[in-house]
């Protein structure tokens, strides 16, 4: 993706990066007063940005058992004590994933993954060689729980043909499996709402329950987008553009939220 970032930087006078557009688009997916289950990295940066702009009453839960933390140091992961700092509650899976997520009170769940396919199914479990040999990765952890149970699921991944295949190599976390409705699948959560990449925002608001283009990031061409997507993508005409981060959003991201560019590379 380096070439795309470079191109973006060339085109945007303010030097806005693909990561910054991506994380701002993710922040715009949460509303004030909502409860979100987040992971470390871009989802957390997005939620902190939302909280410091349009959603000051956003509640953030980490599966490990942390609510509404205000860390001052960048964490390397969910098990890093840096992310526990100044939380308002320390609990565990049964609270965060159980009595909140499973109970049905989590509005938005953010997940990442190795792959996301055209039905919004996510793979975090394994990759397959051409001969079918499986290579295991991290697995679900709370990913399947979030995808199964959150009212809206937002998937954040880098764009690429292998990251967005027609069908995932392993279905860890269900979206609209084979285009079926969530009710038909027996699932309570609303399913995938957005896939946010460094090239575009995809959505599922169509009868076939397949990913379609919501908006394309400035600096990306339709050709690039289609070349980097492993499934057919309907492109509306005119092509909607993802809003660029505002001056204030950029200032917060660069000066306050991730000045060391740990996540916003």
């Amino acid at each position: 993706m380096a070439s795309i970032s470079a191109e973006l930087q060339e085109q945007a006078a303010s030097g806005i990066t693909a990561s910054e557009i991506m994380v701002t688009a993710a922040a715009h997916e949460v509303r004030d007063g909502e409860t979100a289950v987040v992971g470390i990295g871009l989802p957390q940066v997005a939620c902190v940005l939302a909280r410091q702009t349009h959603a000051p009453r956003l509640s953030m839960l980490l599966e490990i058992g942390v609510a509404d933390m205000s860390p001052v140091d960048i964490a390397v992961g969910l098990a890093d004590s840096r992310i526990f700092y100044r939380a308002t509650c320390w609990s565990g899976f049964l609270d965060t994933l159980g009595m909140n997520l499973h109970r049905g009170v989590v509005d938005v769940g953010f997940i990442g993954g190795l792959e996301v396919d055209r039905f919004g199914n996510v793979n975090t479990t394994l990759t397959k060689d051409a001969d079918g040999k499986e290579h295991y990765f991290n697995g679900s952890a709370g990913g399947n729980d979030v995808a199964s149970l959150a009212n809206r699921v937002v998937v954040i991944v880098r764009h690429g043909k292998r990251k967005l295949p027609d069908a995932v190599a392993y279905l860890t976390s269900p979206g609209f499996v084979n285009g079926r409705s969530r009710r038909d699948l027996g699932l309570r959560g609303g399913g995938p709402h957005r896939v946010i990449t460094d090239m575009a925002v995809l959505g599922f608001d169509n009868p076939s329950r397949t990913a379609s283009l919501v908006s394309m990031h400035p600096g990306i061409t339709v050709e690039q987008l289609l070349d980097n997507t492993g499934f057919p993508l309907e492109i509306p005409n005119p092509v909607p553009m993802t809003p660029l981060p505002s001056k204030e959003e950029l200032r917060l991201l660069r000066e306050e939220i991730d000045p060391g560019k740990m996540y916003l590379r």
């Binding site: 890093d80 004590s81 479990t125 952890a141 199964s148 976390s173 269900p174 027996g186």
Partner: protein, 300 residues
């Protein structure tokens, strides 16, 4: 009150081969490393391990070739990389692996802790984990319906490990435990175990516990043995006590990339040292431990 403080060697000697051990770590936090090292030294074999989110302790035991089955939700070493020994064992078919999700493990342990044989959950439906486990592990989960509403559920078998091992920052000699910071599935996991062993960083007088008993997450009457080992989770972190040791985790993350280097790591850091005190000397001693010691306000 009974004094349950025992050496790790004595405790591990009492665990038979083939046991199901639930481990209380999460990625690179509060792993019972001192316990895992001793299990490796004593070469306990054909173990089943269960855990919500696996970390270094499980990777060590699988890397040492002592594990035949894992029941897990997921796992990694956070940004230090994947749990490569475990992933290699899954790739090669060297272990049976029951992969589900974090909440599935917490629910399974909760059922075990409550003494009920199964528990319904709305996770896993329509996933490949479900599809594979339905045929490969019908003793672990099945599809079912609510008898009142007819809603679809996954019925998870209650999990009752032979031994649960949880690493805590503070305990008294009777096994009353406090956990500072988040505690993932530790409470249910501890109480689901047929036997419960705790490893504590600090051993405090019972009177200290009695001052704030609302902080007790694991009550002593359930605990069989208390292992007292400062820096017993190194190189993973114990919130309020010390940070993870990034230098050592980087070293480990290099070593576990190949079985040969993993074996060398085990020789150097597990079989080499006689006990955890010698291990701590080998990984930098008092100077290094002081460097990773938690700062009072931040807890890391």
């Amino acid at each position: 009150m009974p004094d349950k403080v025992k050496s790790v060697a004595e405790v591990v000697r009492s665990i038979p081969d083939g046991s199901h051990i639930a481990l209380g770590g999460f990625a690179i936090a509060r792993n019972a490393i001192v316990f895992a090292h001793e299990v490796i030294r004593q070469q306990k074999k054909t173990l089943t391990l269960s855990q919500g989110v696996m970390g270094m302790e499980t990777d060590l035991l699988v890397g040492a070739g002592l594990v035949s089955k894992i029941i897990v939700g997921g796992g990694s070493l956070d940004r230090f990389g994947p749990v490569r020994c475990i992933n290699r064992a899954r790739d090669n078919g060297a272990i049976v692996h029951i992969d589900s999700s974090s909440l599935s493990l917490a629910f399974g342990y909760l059922a075990g802790a409550l003494g009920i044989s199964f528990i319904p959950i709305k996770s896993l439906l329509a996933s490949e984990m479900m599809e594979r486990l339905e045929t490969a592990a019908p003793d672990y989960l099945r599809r079912g319906k609510c008898p009142f509403t007819g809603e679809d559920f996954v019925f998870l078998r209650g999990i009752t490990p032979d031994v649960s091992v949880v690493h805590v920052p503070i305990a008294d000699s009777n096994g009353n435990c406090w956990i500072h910071g988040p505690r993932w599935e530790n409470e249910e996991q501890a109480k689901a175990g047929k036997r419960l062993i705790v490893v504590t960083e600090e051993l405090v007088p019972t009177e200290y516990i009695q001052r704030e008993p609302e902080r007790t997450v694991i009550p002593g009457h359930r605990v069989e043995a208390v292992i007292h080992q400062p820096f017993g989770a190194h190189p993973t972190s114990v919130f309020g006590c010390y940070d993870y040791d990034a230098e050592h985790l980087k070293l480990y993350a290099e070593c576990h990339k190949t079985p040969e280097r993993m074996n060398q790591y085990l020789q150097d850091y597990v079989f080499g040292p006689r006990d955890h005190w010698e291990y701590l000397e080998k990984v930098g001693g008092l100077r290094r431990m002081n460097e990773i010691k938690a700062e009072a306000i931040f807890g890391y």
